[in-house]
Homo-oligomer: 199 residues x 2
Amino acid sequence: MSAAVIGYDQAMGRWEPNARGRLEQAALELYVERGFEQTTVAEIAQRAGLTERTFFRHFADKREVLFQGAASLQELLVNAVAGTPASSAPIDAIAAALAAAGAVLGERRESARQRQTVIAANPELRERELIKLASLATALANALRARGVRDPTAGLAAEAGIAVFKIAFERWVEESNQRDLPLLMRESLDELRAVTAGG
Amino acid sequence: MSAAVIGYDQAMGRWEPNARGRLEQAALELYVERGFEQTTVAEIAQRAGLTERTFFRHFADKREVLFQGAASLQELLVNAVAGTPASSAPIDAIAAALAAAGAVLGERRESARQRQTVIAANPELRERELIKLASLATALANALRARGVRDPTAGLAAEAGIAVFKIAFERWVEESNQRDLPLLMRESLDELRAVTAGG
């Protein structure tokens, strides 16, 4: 295990296994129980059995716990687009990106559900989530342009992809049924095709 | 002419023709010239030949000059969806909403272009614009649900509609060609159809 995974708690003077994961779990629980605004970093650290100093070694602030995954999600989407054959249609590159995101995010349904609950309850966090999705759309459009896809096709395919991502993700965290995220991504893309075709 | 159009300048003690329009034009000019942050309400009022008090009778703050149209745009979109025949496919209701928005917004290209320049230059305003677009998508989805359109179709059709709106609007304010906004709305919707069909 790397030091980053174990997490050295300087204040306590020892190495803590999975400090980052414990802090994230403690934060999500407290944000759901008490609300995001009402939770302090001291409380998060205490519930995780760690110090505030350790929290700030892993996260810049309370909000970063909720948005830490944005950069790696963007990288995942962009790499998936870049990795599709040059002959693929833009929408197939987008489908590959959605499949990649679905496979990775789909592993963590419970924390995704907690996160969605917290964000839905806080206007500032909802705004931040919209900005994250818009950044992902911009990155996807740029990845398509890098493959030679012209505008407005690149922009439209990217926006369509993020619309499918958003709807599929909402269905996945909300629905009581057991369909997994990659399946919901594919279904939602098919439904978008049907909708735009006038079906 | 109504009092709202003329605009009574209480400080100057007289009725001013089109105070609101003059304030908007002065504000857009100054935001482009000096930047949104650097412009004061006093400067806007001075350029419009009006008082600060008159400004605040028309706008809550500097930002509202840029976002005053959001509520009426939303009403326009929702009414257009509600006004399409019950037998229309969801995407045709969305197309009707885009046509209505295109016809109204398309009349004011110069101020739309100024507004876009100002928003593009300011992160906070870009965030506000994203939030406006997300609100429009929510309103469109609700208008479709009110017609009996189920989810996820309602959500996907609404998101697709706002994606087309955004791309068409960007093309309209940026492009040097002379195509009008309603035409760009139709073209962009057709391109989205082609993209999702894999073309």
